[in-house]
Symmetry: C2
Subunit: 331 residues, 2 copies
């Protein structure tokens, strides 16, 4: 994205326009049982129902439809939700997509990304330089790089979630609320915050991260970008090492204070989403719901809105959540 | 109820009007992975996302909002989805609800129904006459009986699913398709069929039932009401013994031929709905998807629409589905 690194509200409305009829307008769900646990009304923006099982399709479609007509294809580094979003968006748009993945990525993720129409290029984490490989391929084939969060059009696309939240909350009679967003690199959070700043100024966006990966919460608290010491965890979708160069100034200006939940709380939230909403959430997509349910003392207002940002979870982990959440089923 | 036992299209549009802003307009979902298995486009009407986890809320709300202002409360016989739908609809409407359940119903179902605001009256299956008990209570307290399917306003409410299917399918460019509906007593199926007859005449409604409980398929095939020999099974939501007195003439006029799937196919469909749609389905709510995925040779057309009618499933059964469907995850 050489040169243009600004993101503004107009880019969000333009992205929302391009997404219309292509991304799903996911429902804002609720349950009296969850309200009772949280001690307030809880509204869940079910982005796990988005194409490819996460909000990532929005940013990918936004970025791909903003490319010049001369673009030959796209390239992305990801073994997760971003990979699937980019692969599917490119395939719907009739563009080729190359996804660079580590050779030891789960076979099912490689197969899914291929099935969505992408060419998967595998690299060896120990022996190869991922970025050099990707840049060489991009130059050789004339491919445009789609970053997972530090990309203005990606942030613009994720911001469409904020526009929908504002409309759907208003239809429920909610004008003022804290909006808890599952936060990795901050693309979704910053997009939602930019959207709500304009269309629902009484809403306050707060980041939610898993324990041990609270780089954004600490960065917001200290005013300095803080990096996580560790790199992998249960909430794999959101264990980014630090906020992005583009997203951080937006997060700092509009969001906070950051919230932190335990892995166990994320699993319990998954069990309750299964029981009360009939949704499949992945751990990283359940942290905001976990914060609403189990950290209510740290929240203000009669209603709280949370993103359920993805549902791509391996079966053994989901079964753990069902087993762990069993006690909560009777709450 | 007494006297008026006709159901017509106007009752469906009137019910849809009363439901607006109260029932959820559930999404029509799809996945390229499911399309590939089915060999055609598959659209899934996700009624498991309805309030209380099944379409039953629609019929309950429709019936309750059609009561005269003098009504003091409602009564229903059910230990399942109908109970929760009636309890929640009554509570939102500020009416009392009595739900008659067998004393050996699962504790969680009794607790859920109570938590939704209903008074649960337990009876002993071996020693007490459920109907006599219910009628005595209804007379004593002036309560209106809400039948699970043989009730015009209930069928009218369920028919709102058909109106939404027609609109949502049209938005996807689909005007002609077979519409497969999970069928117990036939309230949902007959309501959808009456709606589509008017607004989408190129759609053909077909019932789907589990093996051993194919009373409707057999009744449609023979032209005579046939009864199931057995009474309980995995697909508990739809193991009704025979089509209803009100629903049968509608089913006979508008629906068929009926389809039948195995319990194993229902479980595999649950596993694929988890994997590809991020939805929690119960076995009885997954039979229509199972028919679309595994009985494609018996279906015509480039697209098929299925109801995913409920998601209230006990955790051990859901875990069985996840284990069984594992092989399908790589398809």
């Amino acid at each position: 994205m050489a040169g243009d690194v600004s993101v503004n509200f107009d880019m969000i409305t333009a992205a929302a326009h391009r997404l219309k009829g292509h991304a799903r307008r996911t429902p804002l769900l609720s349950s009296p049982f969850l309200d009772r646990i949280a001690g307030r009304r809880v509204f869940v923006k079910a982005e796990c129902l988005q194409h490819t099982g996460s909000f990532k399709f929005r940013g990918a479609w936004s970025a791909i439809t903003a490319l010049p007509d001369t673009a030959r294809g796209v390239i992305a580094f990801s073994s997760g939700n971003h990979a699937q979003g980019v692969a599917y968006a490119a395939s719907l748009k009739g563009l080729s997509a190359v996804i660079i993945m580590p050779r030891d990525a789960p076979a099912i993720k490689i197969a899914n990304t291929r099935a969505l129409g992408a060419e998967v290029v595998l690299y060896d984490r120990a022996l190869e330089d991922r970025d050099a490989l990707g840049l060489a391929l991009a130059a050789e084939r004339g491919l445009e790089l789609v970053q997972p969060f530090d990309h203005p059009q990606v942030i613009g696309g994720q911001g469409s979630v904020g526009l929908e939240i504002a409309q759907q909350a208003q239809a429920e009679g909610v004008e003022a609320a804290q909006v808890l967003v599952c936060c990795g690199g901050g693309g979704l959070t910053s997009g939602i915050a930019l959207a709500l700043e304009q269309v629902a100024p009484l809403m306050q966006v707060r980041t939610v991260e898993p324990e041990g990966f609270d780089d954004v919460a600490q960065s917001l608290a200290t005013g300095q970008v803080v990096e996580n010491p560790t790199r992998s965890g249960l909430c794999d979708a959101i264990v980014t090492p630090r906020p992005g160069a583009l997203t951080w100034p937006i997060l700092q200006r509009l969001c906070g204070p950051g919230m932190v939940v335990s892995d166990e709380e994320a699993l319990r939230a998954m069990g309750l989403a299964y029981e009360r909403l009939k949704l499949v959430l992945e751990p990283g997509g359940a942290v905001a719901l976990a914060a609403a349910l189990f950290h209510g003392d740290d929240i203000t207002g009669e209603a709280v809105i949370v993103t359920a940002s993805g549902g791509n979870v391996d079966r053994p982990v989901f079964m753990d959540a069902l087993a762990m959440g069993d006690a909560d089923a009777n709450r």
